[in-house]
């Protein structure tokens, strides 16, 4: 894991002092709310329905046990004993007091964490693959490349007042677990014939009210030119992105309006100008960062065969673990989606328990996934039973990864000022209804957003649900056929919307029709949908 040096720590500490001063000036009325709001947003603080909300950055979704325990401490000391893990690998707290924020940020800084740029029209937390350094299909660990971007984008003088927020994801595997096609910039590590690593650069993906998939603007970018090329993209965007309409301000609209080829040409043109300015750090800097991400030393002779005689345990192993690149090891996903619970929420006690398990059994590492679950990336198979038992005692052993009850949901109208409808209760009802048959259904990704902003990724759901407002009533639209993985596609609205009970029934009808149509147990819902199209489902729901 990356460790701060004196420079990193000094910058984070200065940020805490700066915000302490800004809050004090606000509370003394020396600055207006209008001037203060962008400052608090750049420190991740929103005013939500019930209180302030704080979004803490978890760079590329990686934590150690000390940091997770600090997140638990913050939940207890400053919040109401829980936090919400988000689809961008961050954590949000819902009951914050502005006057306590400086102390909270100081606590975070003491474990090398911060809330820099977790909101505002700037470059946000860099997300990545939750299986980094553990997945077998990985070319290289993407996190050093993400850390380099984190540093470069922190307090960037030119790119802190962009037309709109800017999200970057980096992945190093063939399987896309970071939804790079749905980010403003997606970076994929690639390898050439000589075994050399380069970067494939995608631009212009995103969700919100105009969902678009990103375009490749460069198949191969030498690593040495990484940051100057990013400067060129961001400069083209900062100068030419629309600022007249907040809904058209994302880079995806610019890329779409210019066309990807013309956009790429402008980037190359700008790059030719900025490349000679010496913006790229020497290779020693990436090497220095990469040295922090040395893969853990794992015992390749650890036993592969383990006792699976307990059927409930065997089921959990089958569903919630992935093969690790080192034999005798596994990647464990801890589901934060027990049916009936709030997707992505974890209590302080649960966080502490997971921290303990990570320290004892998983090389002291925890990851946050974009599906709002947690991961122990490096676990010996012969420790799985112990871990499972501990998780079970804390309500964390639900075996539902990527299944019907593993639902992504945004906070919706229960917390969010922008919401049109509640999302969490829909997720809870669906999870409870679908859990009994989910083993038979196989992979099924249901994603729910409480408004068109799409924080719950509804456009990327095999089944997506979007909350809308219909004459003051909560109403839900049903979308089918999306994917945020390497086979990315955008879900399409099936027909007129429903009320709360209606949407649950409609999803059940869609699933019933799928079961009738599927060619066999290997055909996922998404495959069936792609094969037969929307008509049969329309008929099942509205016919």
């Amino acid at each position: 894991m990356y460790r701060y040096d004196e420079f990193d720590q000094a910058i984070v500490d200065a940020r805490v002092a700066e915000f302490r001063d800004q809050v004090a000036r606000r509370l003394r009325n020396e600055i207006s709310e209008e001037a203060f709001k962008p400052l608090r947003l750049m420190n991740g603080i929103y005013l939500q329905l019930h209180a302030y909300m704080l979004r803490v950055a978890i760079p590329y979704g990686t934590l150690d046990s000390r940091q997770l325990r600090m997140l638990a401490h913050i939940a207890r000391r400053y919040d109401r004993g829980y936090g919400h893990f988000t689809t961008r690998q961050n954590i949000q707290y819902n009951w914050m007091k502005l006057e306590e924020m400086p102390d909270l940020l100081a606590d975070l800084a003491s474990v090398e964490m911060h809330a820099f740029q977790t909101s505002g029209n700037c470059i946000r937390n860099i997300s990545s693959d939750q299986f980094a350094a553990a997945a077998a299909d990985e070319i290289a660990d993407p996190r050093p490349y993400a850390e380099l971007l984190r540093q470069w984008s922190t307090l960037h003088p030119e790119f802190s007042f962009l037309p709109r927020k800017f999200k970057i994801a980096v992945t190093g595997s063939a399987t896309d677990r970071a939804a790079i096609q749905l980010h403003d910039i997606g970076i994929k590590l690639v390898q050439n014939g000589d075994g050399e690593i380069g970067l494939k650069v995608l631009v212009g993906g995103g969700m919100g009210r105009t969902p678009l998939l990103a375009h490749v603007i460069r198949d191969w970018l030498p690593v040495a030119d990484y940051l100057s090329y990013m400067e060129a993209i961001l400069r083209v965007y900062n100068r030419h992105g629309r600022r007249d309409n907040i809904y058209k301000a994302r880079i995806k609209i610019l890329v779409n309006d210019l066309g990807p080829a013309e956009f790429a040409r402008q980037v190359e043109d700008e790059w030719a100008r900025v490349k000679p300015l010496g913006l790229d750090p020497p290779p020693s800097e990436l090497a220095r960062i990469a040295a922090h991400f040395q893969p853990p030393v794992l015992d390749a002779s650890a036993p592969v065969a383990i006792d699976l005689s307990d059927p409930e345990f065997a089921q959990w192993v089958a569903v919630n673990t992935h093969p690790h690149k080192v034999p005798g090891h596994a990647i464990v996903t801890i589901s934060l989606k027990a049916p009936g619970e709030i997707p992505g929420d974890a209590s302080a006690d649960q966080m502490d328990l997971i921290a303990d398990l990570a320290q004892a059994h998983a090389q002291d590492e925890i990851r946050v996934t974009h599906a709002q679950n947690l991961v122990l990336p490096h676990v010996r198979r012969d420790a799985l039973f112990t871990i499972w038992q501990a998780l079970k005692g804390a309500g964390l052993a639900t075996a539902n990864l990527d299944r019907a009850s593993d639902i992504i949901s945004c906070p919706g109208l229960d917390y969010c000022t922008l919401a049109n409808a509640r999302s969490i209760p829909i997720a809870q009802k669906l999870a409870v209804k679908l859990a009994p048959q989910e083993a038979d259904l196989g992979e099924l990704k249901i994603k729910i957003s409480g408004c068109i902003n799409g924080c719950g990724h509804h456009h990327a759901g095999h089944i997506g649900i979007l909350g809308v407002d219909r004459k003051g009533e909560e109403n839900y639209q049903l979308l089918l056929g999306g994917s945020g993985a390497e086979d990315a596609s955008l879900a399409k609205i099936l027909g007129p919307g429903f009320d709360e009970n209606g949407i649950v029934n409609a999803v059940e009808k869609v699933i019933g029709r799928y079961q009738a149509l599927r060619t066999g147990p290997d055909e996922r819902f998404l495959d069936t949908y792609r094969r037969v199209g929307a008509e049969p489902f329309k008929e099942a729901v509205y016919g």
Partner: protein
């Protein structure tokens, strides 16, 4: 008006009015760029220019940061003045992007401005100012054998 100007230059500067880009005549000493203007249009005229004003008509405006940096990259050493809806807490960004004067709508508190500029002991990236990014400091430290 004069006392609200926040200026980091010690030279006398050019006090004359700045003309709009469309009205600029070669040889003129001061010009004003609106957010949509292309700063590169001024490159042939930089030797004649003493001051370039860059407008920030509303808070949600950030193109001026790119404009200033482009002008510094082109070698402009005269005054670049940010004019408009700007708050003191943005000062460090402005200075690093190449501005050396600000005419804000509401005046800056001098003590806060000073503290803001002194706040961050290090910077992560190279920009238009002289600050050396931490990757350079790290490299030097490594070369000096301190790790």
């Amino acid at each position: 008006m004069a006392e609200t100007l926040f200026r980091l230059r010690s030279d006398a500067g050019h006090d004359g009015p700045a003309v709009a880009l469309a009205d600029y005549q070669p040889g003129g000493a001061a010009v004003r760029l609106e957010p949509a203007d292309d700063a590169r249009a001024l490159i042939p005229h930089l030797p004649a220019l003493a001051r370039i004003d860059i407008a920030f008509p509303k808070f949600r405006e950030g193109r001026g940061y790119s404009a200033a940096r482009i002008l510094r990259e082109a070698g402009f050493a005269g005054e670049i003045r940010a004019v408009g809806v700007l708050y003191v807490d943005q000062l460090a960004f402005l200075v690093r992007a190449g501005f050396d004067a600000v005419l804000p709508e509401t005046p800056f508190d001098a003590a806060v401005a000073k503290a803001t500029l002194a706040r961050f002991p290090h910077v992560y990236m190279k920009a238009a100012d002289a600050a050396r990014p931490v990757w350079l400091l790290r490299e030097e430290a490594a070369l000096a054998g301190r790790t």
